[in-house]
């Protein structure tokens, strides 16, 4: 079970990023718990300056804009 955190204050792209993560996990058959982090302080503490940001099992993998679908598959299966 991987824990994926999607960081973002709730903008359209943050929602889209969350959806991408869920869909990719389903497609790959990877069990994930997706958690949304919307609090500005927690986002900043994670070292993220541009949202949406994504971390997998506590490791930050992406920040700013939508992730590339190919990279996303890589993070979820790594």
């Amino acid at each position: 079970m991987k824990t994926v955190k999607v960081y973002g204050p709730g903008c359209a792209r943050c929602e889209a990023a969350e959806k991408m993560v869920k869909e990719a996990a389903e497609k790959l058959g990877v069990a994930v718990a997706v958690e949304k982090v919307t609090d500005a302080k927690s986002i900043a503490m994670a070292g993220i300056m541009s949202t949406p940001g994504i971390s997998v099992d506590g490791k930050l993998v992406h920040s700013g804009g939508l992730p590339d679908a190919g990279n996303l598959d890589g993070w979820l299966t790594a």
């Binding site: 986002i43 900043a44 994670a46 070292g47 300056m49 939508l66 190919g70 890589g74």
Partner: protein, 353 residues
């Protein structure tokens, strides 16, 4: 920092050659259509059963000409900006600005504010990221003011709709206001007016992201993605702005404009700022209004003040910043930037009187 090479050919819709061929073809098509906008719009206007030189005819002509023109300009600017900005990121900008206490940290921050991609929804994490990395508060403000104030969309539309002279004036003064306001705010020693939790925050850990190596096609894709996102979001503001511009162009008598927004009416500059701040629209929405105002004889200084306060100072932005700044600091911030805008407005009204 590790480097991750992009998996070649993974998840790519179109082959590379199609991008390299498609972008120039699209640019040529864009150019051809843009060049035919006057005959095209006159033809459409003639379809309406109203005399061309009536108030309604003038308003229709303005609307029918401006809508495709602004949308074309917007698409082109957003695409080019999206591609150019793919070479910049908030992380790189932070690394450049960190520890720059010297005087030229301010103009540098203003320039990077224009070039760095960031949306207002992430201005809070960005603000914290900057301040916690030791970037002086004033330099951070220069960055945050310049971003919206001299954005490429506003400049490009100003250039296309009003002309290069006024676009250049706007660029120079917008940039100066961002730089000087940041400097003044930095000198005021306002760190104690940050929200408590921001001050207590230790230097945040720098996100150790693998650097993604982008190919040229990736950058073109980013540009197209930006077009889809931004044009898809602001077109409604554009139509509203052009509608207001068309109404001004067709119906507002010139004498009335001269009384309200003429260079003689000194109070019109502060009034323009007071009206402009609560107005919230994208630059793409306000420039058609500016075009119509100037066309009717509104004073340049007053119009500049209006445009700058609409674009650079907005209430939703202040509400977002409330999370990190105390009301007092927001007040000082507003006052300093508004003074800069007022000074610009008065200066041009006096010069051109």
């Amino acid at each position: 920092m590790t480097t991750e090479t992009h998996d070649p050919g993974a998840h790519r819709g179109a082959p590379d050659w199609l991008w390299y061929a498609g972008v120039p073809v699209a640019a040529v098509l864009w150019w051809l259509v843009y060049g035919q906008l006057i005959p095209l719009s006159e033809w459409v206007t003639a379809l309406f059963p109203v005399p061309r030189d009536s108030h309604t005819g003038e308003a229709i002509a303005f609307f029918v000409y401006d809508v495709p023109k602004v949308l074309l300009l917007l698409t082109g600017i957003v695409f080019v900006t999206g591609v150019l900005r793919s070479w910049f990121s908030p992380e790189k900008t932070r690394a450049i600005l960190a520890g720059r206490n010297q005087i030229w940290g301010y103009p540098l921050a203003s320039a990077l504010g224009v070039l760095t991609p960031f949306c207002s929804c992430s201005s809070v994490p960005l603000f914290i990221g900057f301040v916690s990395a030791g970037i002086p508060l004033g330099v951070t403000f220069s960055f945050l003011i310049a971003g919206p104030m001299v954005g490429p969309v506003g400049l490009g539309l100003l250039y296309g709709l009003v002309g290069w002279e006024i676009a250049t004036i706007y660029l120079v003064f917008g940039f100066t206001i961002a730089t000087v306001s940041g400097f003044v705010l930095g000198r005021l020693g306002l760190e104690r007016y940050l929200q408590d939790w921001v001050r207590e925050l230790n230097a945040g850990p720098v996100g150790d992201l693998p650097e993604v190596r982008l190919t040229m096609v990736d950058r073109l894709k980013i540009g197209l993605e930006q077009v889809r996102e931004i044009v898809g979001k602001v077109w409604i503001w554009v139509l509203a702005g052009i509608g207001i511009g068309a109404a001004i162009h067709g119906y507002v008598p010139e004498e009335m404009m001269l009384t309200i927004m003429g260079g003689e009416a000194w109070w019109s500059v502060p009034a323009a700022v007071v009206v402009g701040v609560p107005m919230y629209t994208n630059a793409a929405g306000v420039i058609p209004i500016v075009e119509a105002l100037l066309g009717k004889g509104a004073a340049l200084g007053t119009t500049l003040a209006f445009m700058m306060s609409v674009i650079a100072l907005s209430l939703p932005e202040m509400i977002i910043l409330k999370q990190v700044l105390t009301l007092r600091l927001i007040g000082v911030f507003l006052a300093v930037v508004a003074l800069g805008i007022l000074a610009t407005g008065f200066l041009f009204n006096i010069i051109l009187l």
